[in-house]
């Protein structure tokens, strides 16, 4: 037994021992360790899988399947990446495959393509940005107007619903990046490693996703304030 588990300093979440300890425990059949991993990582894996598949049920299947894949592969895991990075790559691969297969069997469902990632970012209310189409830029919004509620008060269920819906309309790659960065709180380095993309690409995807969600919140909150004139 090691004395003290080393905190995973990379990002928030439940404290797990260092990778080598976890891997050795799994190989030795330590069910508690496996259970701890399920608890710690499955929520993020479900959110990530959801970027590629049609619904929560498919995401649940994908994550189960990915965990079985983890067990099958753990003996050969060589720690060339962090364990969590490797696990996320497995879930993303499976989710992509599932997403493509589901799209083939469901007529009228369009496949998400890489092209979508390069469509101009949607930041509604931004006609000033109309002439700009560069890949790495986000449409400039009209002069932003402060949102009516103080930051701490916009926790309403409705806000969450608007965000959830907006997440659903993001291209898969943008959704995965904002999920890992802003929902799971992972570092940009880890997200680049998981998705095997460059830091610049990661930032563009995150930038577009955030701008798009800000636009959604802006439309909702500005409409709310319109109902109650402030002056």
């Amino acid at each position: 037994m090691r004395s003290m588990p080393e905190a995973d300093s990379q990002s928030p979440g439940p404290v797990l021992p260092a990778d080598d300890v976890v891997v050795e425990a799994l190989r030795c059949g330590d069910e508690d360790m496996f259970a701890a991993l399920l608890t710690a990582w499955s929520p993020g894996m479900l959110q990530v899988a959801r970027a590629y598949v049609a619904d929560e049920y498919a995401a649940e299947d994908v994550v189960q399947d990915a965990w079985v894949g983890v067990l099958r592969g753990i003996d050969k895991f060589e720690a060339r990446s962090a364990l969590r990075t490797w696990v996320y790559r497995i879930v993303i691969n499976r989710a992509k495959t599932r997403g493509v297969n589901d799209a083939r069997t469901v007529p009228m469902t369009s496949l998400a393509t890489a092209k979508e990632d390069f469509d101009p970012a949607v930041d509604p209310g931004g006609p000033l940005g109309g002439s700009r189409g560069a890949d790495d830029s986000v449409a400039l919004p009209q002069t932003p107007v402060a949102w009516p509620s103080p930051e701490g008060e916009i926790l309403a269920l409705e806000v969450h619903q608007h965000i959830e819906r907006a997440l659903g309309s993001l291209p898969a790659r943008q959704r995965v990046v904002i999920t890992l960065r802003d929902m799971q709180g992972y570092s940009s380095d880890e997200v680049c490693a998981i998705l095997e993309i460059t830091a610049a690409n990661q930032r563009v995807l995150l930038h577009r996703a955030r701008a798009s969600l800000r636009g959604t919140l802006d439309r909702y909150l500005t409409a709310q304030s319109g109902k109650e004139p402030t002056r």
């Binding site: 069910e31 479900l46 830029s137 932003p144 926790l155 965000i163 930032r203 802006d218």
Partner: protein, 79 residues
Amino acid sequence: MTTMNCEEFVDLVTAYLDEELDAGTRRRFTGHIGVCGGCDVYLRQIRVTVAEVGRLPARNLTDRSRENLLEAFRDWSAR
């Protein structure tokens, strides 16, 4: 020091929040906040957006899936 316009500001928001701007660009960025109320608001709204996304409720596997996986683990480790 050249001034920063709103377009450049919006393009750099994510790099700014990740603390990836070089010192000079960072100074121009924060300098722009001081003179442009709209971009000040925009930056705040991006921060609120990030925070709200982080507060979305997350769910875990269903109990049934979890049980299935623990059982799969027992089968696997008895291999």
